[in-house]
Symmetry: C2
Subunit: 118 residues, 2 copies
DNA sequence: TTGACATGAAACTATAAGGTTTCATATTAA
DNA sequence: TTAATATGAAACCTTATAGTTTCATGTCAA
């Protein structure tokens, strides 16, 4: 498993976590992202650089724009590290299961087949 | 759900993550913990303070010692925040399910006694 | 009671991190 | 081609963070 450090570091800042949440709505340019925060674009740019370093976002050039897209697979090393705490998993097992089952319920609406193919 | 910031911040440092892993073997004094790291006890003390602030450890006074004990429930806000990324859960669902089911299987029989002392 | 032990706290230092302003570069549209 | 747009990069400032050394405090054991 990839070293989770860069991802943990990226997640440590509230602005960066908020950016990730915002990107759940789809890719956004740095300009769009910066509008939502009380800081300048260069400051947001640095946060995006840290998120990219942690492989939590990808940057897709599109003309003169750069679309910043969330890369949720980058969270895998984080989850992987957390999973080493099986005392934690013991304690949270039922919560997790319900979260997942709720997810699966949402999946009942038509969408690309995913978990069906195991 | 509790704000995950103090926990995310605590997890951002590799020394603190290593301390948490070490504490999976049971409670340890600061002296014992400091032996494992190339830094002084006051430095380790500061890390422990951050972990305590994030509610990832508890400190149990015992005579002139202080036992630092992992508090895995403190990871719940972290998991809770990660759970908002249902794109992530989509991608990781089957993996997670297998992890959990494996955990459940293990529950039925005795296993390596680690954090089992209550 | 006294010395050794285990820890805590204060003051200080160096570097990293988050922010700014300013300027440069690439692309689109008129 | 040129002006506006979208972004990137450099230099700088301030504060937080991670570490140190030094000293103080509380507890155990002889």
């Amino acid at each position: 498993m990839k070293d989770p450090h860069s991802a943990f570091r990226a997640l440590a800042d509230p602005t960066r976590r908020a950016i990730l949440v915002q990107l759940l709505n789809g890719p956004h340019t740095i300009g769009e992202i910066a509008e939502g925060f009380a800081m300048t674009r260069p400051a947001v740019k640095k946060h995006l650089a840290v998120l990219e370093e942690g492989e939590l976002i990808r940057v897709i050039p599109e003309g003169r724009k750069r679309l910043n897209q969330i890369a949720p697979a980058g969270l895998a090393p984080v989850i992987g590290w957390l999973a080493t705490f099986d005392a934690f998993w013991d304690a949270r097992l039922s919560t997790l299961k319900s979260v997942i089952e709720q997810e699966e319920t949402h999946h009942d609406r038509p969408r690309k087949d995913r978990t069906r193919r195991d």
